[in-house]
Subunit: 336 residues, 2 copies
């Protein structure tokens, strides 16, 4: 069976006959590294090692000096940045086909907690809400730089998700151009809005709430679903119930309810799938679209349980071995 | 620095300061499994185990009966198919947002050699040419089924590239819709053709041959380059020098020269990077475009040396830690 993803215009191949039962996606009993910090090499994100990172941009701390211990959340430039604020964003051309631009942007690391071994699923909801507030503050601060077109907030957890650092951290990259994938998603949502007068993502959320098969958590303000045309097993979205284009505008009073839902989702994935690696991204609009009606900001959690291979690379088409309604049913029964 | 990929309209972030020197991309001395077949569990692709696969579709064999040993190359349906010829391709709709279609298609496995431990880099050029001929035959046979819009030929090598089977094999998936990523690439190339009267890929090849910095191999009929805006370290393309839209039309006499170049490229990657995992795909046009001037079929080899993480998933934008001219310089010096 194939399903159509109305947010990207991709067809996704569902091949559950290739698949395992939900519980077979669990990682083995092999425990993820819980080495005490410093056992192998000093952790640059642990308290006491503040001099191992570039000087901090900001931190939540009570009374202690910058770049010393005593912080709850700490933000620094990435030591190995993909893009840098100091670079110019000028463009150069070599003939008609080779076009380049300077690596202007920002790349920050948000160290979530002083505790080397406390991933978000195990953090208190209060602390998780504090982290979300810092993420939003950094997002809002960087929107002031008119060179930055898009700000991508993301978290990599586990080696399979592309990080080798155990100490819990988020990252943020501000880019000098809108990535074309996002341009396309926004264009698709804009077209839907023009046709129907509705936000595509709000309509999808409503349809999922009506179908009721793929809803994982519903609270007063937020809903977690496993979308109809998920590209990977156990892909989960957290969406606000009220239309809002940008993560920038989330009312501070809603960060704690958001933290509650996020903790529930991450806890269920952790227990149900044996602490899987995952990527988590904040999907939001680009510069200039913050007032628009076509997009609904949301969190996207992609557990890294399968490896995209040659077919996916060559075609851009995903093969998903797990129906989202089966994955949702399994996760609903997990006690986190 | 960012570079613009004119074939996809993506900007790619180059962050070589994050990177290692080329030789540091090498896999450790850890040797890839060369377990004799059957040591752990019987290999379904080894001679004598023909009954472990679905009955063969075709095989290159001299005098022996189907589904018995004595073959040089053997093609079978995938035992766990993503799509199946028996499925209908009818579409269903549930409201406006949930659209599905039957999993109609084909999913074949091309077992390259009876030898469990003989990857393409080590196969004789004659044998590699024979494998390419079988791939082309299967491609051409499947184009006769008008339900199939696109045929993706690909090879996964190594666990990091998404395969757990050591025995050398290619795969082929025929899809009932054109994947939207390919539609976009073809639309971009069509627009370039409309504007300039030239094939975008032929123009790119010409520009790379002029720049000379990223050319890895050049022979009478084929060129291997590491493209200007490579999305990943050591990504390599093999392109024909003469314009030709589809892999379907490659003259049989050119399969041996193609095999020679492919063997050289794979050999250099194997020796230079310590037998890396890779995906290999045949890029070609979709149904109905075989006579078109806008596209040039080519092979794309993507070594799996880095893990795309949250930023790439969230934005669609690649971060490449190795400039292709540096990678090409390194590989040119490798004796395969």
């Amino acid at each position: 069976m194939l399903r159509y993803d109305v947010t990207t215009n991709d067809w996704v191949i569902f091949a559950p006959s290739r698949a395992l039962r939900p519980h077979q996606f669990q990682r083995g009993s092999e425990k993820r590294a819980e080495v005490p910090s410093g056992t192998e090499r000093p952790c640059p994100f642990c308290p006491g090692n503040e001099q191992m990172t570039p000087p901090e941009i900001t931190a939540v701390r009570e009374g202690t000096a910058p770049n010393t211990p005593g912080w709850k959340v700490r933000v620094t430039p990435n030591k190995f940045p993909a893009l840098r604020i100091e670079e110019a964003n000028g463009r150069t051309e070599e003939g008609r086909l080779f076009r380049a631009m300077g690596g202007c942007g920002a790349h920050e690391v948000i160290i979530e907690t002083p505790d080397h071994n406390l991933p978000p699923a195990l953090q208190s909801p209060e602390h998780l809400a504090l982290v979300l507030r810092v993420l939003q503050d950094r997002y809002n601060d960087l929107t002031r730089d008119a060179r930055f077109q898009t700000i991508v907030i993301f978290k990599n957890y586990g080696v399979e998700a592309g990080t080798s650092l155990v100490h819990p951290h988020w990252q943020l990259i501000a880019t000098p151009v809108v990535p074309s994938t996002l341009r396309r998603k926004h264009a698709i949502a804009t077209q839907y809005f023009d046709q129907t007068g509705q936000c595509l993502y709000c309509a999808l959320l409503e349809a999922e709430l009506t179908a009721r098969q793929r809803v994982l958590v519903e609270t007063e303000h937020f809903v977690a679903i496993l979308p109809y045309a998920s590209h990977t097993p156990f892909e989960t979205w957290v969406l606000p119930k009220r239309h809002q284009s940008s993560f920038r505008w989330v009312d501070p009073s809603l960060l704690r309810p958001l933290a509650d839902v996020l903790k529930t989702v991450l806890g269920k994935l952790r227990v149900g799938l044996g602490d899987p690696a995952f990527n988590l991204t904040v999907n939001t609009v680009s510069r200039g679209d913050e007032g628009e009606s076509f997009f609904l900001w949301h969190l996207q959690i992609v557990p890294r349980l399968t490896t995209p291979a040659g077919f996916e690379l060559g075609s851009g088409m995903a093969i998903n071995t797990m129906l989202p309604e089966d994955a949702a049913g399994f996760l609903r029964d997990v006690k986190e």
